[in-house]
Symmetry: C2
Subunit: 424 residues, 2 copies
């Protein structure tokens, strides 16, 4: 391939005012404004190829991630794609182990989110270069699927063929955010059932009586055979989690997600042990900051569902390691998605898991939330509650330039209008 030297990195703070309508609200994040630090890599290639990447945030603090991306950019600009992918481990370590910057991580928090944004863009660029052409569906590609998938999966197999036909099973979190009224919940749930959804997640953890009422309502709506999951977003202590979830056991949730502090590995192990007799598993991962933490959770039998995230850890590189560890421990991977761009990104990873690693759909599904897809060049395609494999080259997170400009914080027109309203 061409050298494809990266000659420029730009990063922008893009925020969507989702808190205005309580989309995404949960027990710990009561007013999220879904946001991204959005990275574009420019190259010196003949075709002026670019790489697009992002990391997800929920509003305030995005500017800190943007600052971190700028700090890391000096390690990226000037490198060629060829030298990066010929020693991708070395490049990963260069970003994560800079002798000075690693102190403010290492491999966690802001600096890890920034690393993810950059590496997501590098993977996108690599896939586009492999695909050669930009912004055109690859109609003649024998893999019949996104070039990113081809890069990670290698040869086509029967699981790949099955995915093209049926898609990967999804569940929806769109019906039951914590801030929604019972009426909203009923309406959204009924609509989702009509669209073919069979797996539903409910936010819990703020008030037990509310949770009982909401879980009862949704279980009645979806019936006994559909799947229900509950998600506390870290709200509880260990014992509180066990007591609380025991009281929701009658609604037969498949898992309790993020029952307590994401760093409390042994706490999750205690919760797992206590809830196992009730047939309820523990799911976590969206705030698990690197492969080493996932290793702790797997070794301690502290989770029964591995929720990888496309932006929390170091991009595809680190997620491949986590997917392989999960397979070794025989624990299903059920990705975290939603927010903005997370569905677009993580679909590639879970398809890789199925096609090349697990070859199983048992207890496996990928989260889906129906917000903000309209801002992407190649939005996710859901058919009959399944993710349809993307065909455009790349990592699917190129945003519409118009959307980016409108939502840039604080100067985009959306935010200027909100500021104006605040003043009135």
């Amino acid at each position: 391939m061409q050298e494809n030297k990266i000659i420029k990195l730009t990063v922008r703070d893009v925020r969507f005012p989702t808190s205005l309508e309580q989309h995404g609200s949960d027990a710990m994040h009561t007013d999220p404004d879904y946001s991204v630090a959005y990275v574009v890599l420019e190259t010196d290639s003949d075709a002026a190829l670019k790489g697009y990447g992002l990391t997800f945030t929920v509003g305030r603090g995005t500017e800190i991630v943007v600052c971190a991306v700028k700090a890391l950019s000096t390690l990226v600009v000037g490198k060629t794609l060829k030298e990066i992918v010929s020693d991708f481990r070395g490049f990963y370590r260069l970003l994560s182990s800079d002798g000075q910057m690693r102190w403010v991580g290492p491999e966690k928090g802001v600096i890890q989110l920034a690393t993810a944004a950059i590496l997501n863009a590098v993977w996108d660029l690599w896939a586009r270069v492999e695909g050669k052409v930009r912004n055109k569906p690859l109609k003649t590609n024998t893999f019949e699927c996104s070039i990113l998938l081809k890069v990670v999966c290698g040869k086509k197999n029967r699981f790949h063929t099955q995915m093209l036909k049926e898609g990967y099973p999804a569940y929806t979190t769109s019906c039951a955010w914590l801030g929604y009224t019972d009426q909203q919940l009923t309406q959204l749930c009924s609509e989702a059932l009509a669209q073919g959804w069979t797996k539903f997640k409910v936010k819990v953890g703020a008030d037990l009586q509310d949770d009982i009422r909401r879980c009862s309502l949704i279980r009645k709506l979806i019936g006994p055979n559909n799947t229900l999951m509950i998600d506390a977003n870290q709200r509880w202590d260990v014992n509180e989690a066990i007591t609380w979830v025991t009281k929701l056991a009658e609604f037969h949730p498949l898992w309790i997600e993020e029952p307590t502090c994401p760093d409390d590995v042994l706490g999750h192990a205690s919760i797992s042990k206590a809830l196992a007799p009730l047939g309820i598993g523990v799911a976590t991962g969206e705030q698990c900051h690197n492969r080493v933490m996932f290793k702790q959770f797997l070794q301690a039998a502290a989770l029964q569902f591995v929720q990888i995230d496309s932006c929390r850890v170091g991009s595809v590189n680190e997620n491949l390691a986590i997917i392989l560890m999960a397979a070794k421990f025989n624990v299903p991977v059920c990705p975290h998605a939603g927010g903005v761009g997370l569905c677009e990104l993580v679909q590639h990873l879970i398809l890789f898991d199925y096609i090349s690693v697990s070859a199983s759909l048992n207890n496996r599904m990928c989260e889906y939330v129906d917000h903000l897809h309209e801002h992407f060049e190649s939005p996710t395609i859901i058919r009959n509650a399944h993710y349809i494999p993307p065909k455009d080259p790349g990592y699917s997170c190129e945003m519409l330039e118009e959307s980016v400009q409108k939502h840039q914080y604080p100067d985009g027109e959306v935010w200027r209008a909100i500021e104006q309203q605040g003043k009135q």
Copy 2:
């Protein structure tokens, strides 16, 4: 007390070019420039009282912490000290659990370092307010010790009297940075012995033969009865750590510090178990990002020495919790210090541990590094290899304004001069 409303927060990026002489070099941080994000809180009090706080970094990346401090400052400015300290838990949670900003942590990495800088300044302010007068030693204070210690320790006791007389035992890391030559090491070690030092730490982990030569040299210099510790700064995998340290066992180190990735709780447990028969303990903590992670290490018997850090976790608040947990698990606390300002800060915490919690000096000592103290208004006082309790009111990290201005990055005169030299 007065309300003492916080009316302004300033934060500056202050860096010392320590990498020029290899001070602070270790197996993972080969070129640290000791730095701080330096916070000053201004109040509306009659006496124009200020609070001074900092968080420690090693150069690049400090600007990200500065950005995070600015983001958090909106939660601090406008609050009165009275309302903060009357519900300090609430204030701590306000900083660490902001519904939007917690996503980029939570309680880890950049945002946690920024939280520490701010809270260190709040504790400093509180102690100064309690002390009433600023910049004058409290000659008539019946506690005969810093007002910060009085705030946390409460009443004077015999352990406090003992500390005033003897001081708290320290060990030195100044003699054997990885980048020092054998000649430097020999000279520094001989000088330290002459000054009364009895406990020495050596950096290891880059090259086994080098380590054997260096440990052999220092053990010969200090003799069989003085204490030797070794520190790998996370360089190894788990099995590599066990093999490597086993080969250094003949030099009888008391502990191996940071043998592997700071997130690998169960890895540290394996190392602890393997090295116990050799009489070598595992020490870690300087990159352990919060109380919940320390809980994992204690519950898993993954360390035998708890190395608290004054800036990595959420200031005094979180360190008190860690000190109490360590006491419950009967594990000695041996603070991490050095860098810039860490000795000044952490001496207060280890004195609290002795005076009010552990009441034991068995296997306990506080790190000391003899760099950069000259930039502080109230530098640490070491007498016969012991920390002498500070008497000035506050948390001892007010810097000389002249030093701050000279070392501001990138515009201070020290950095402008280095840039000039680079161009020549």
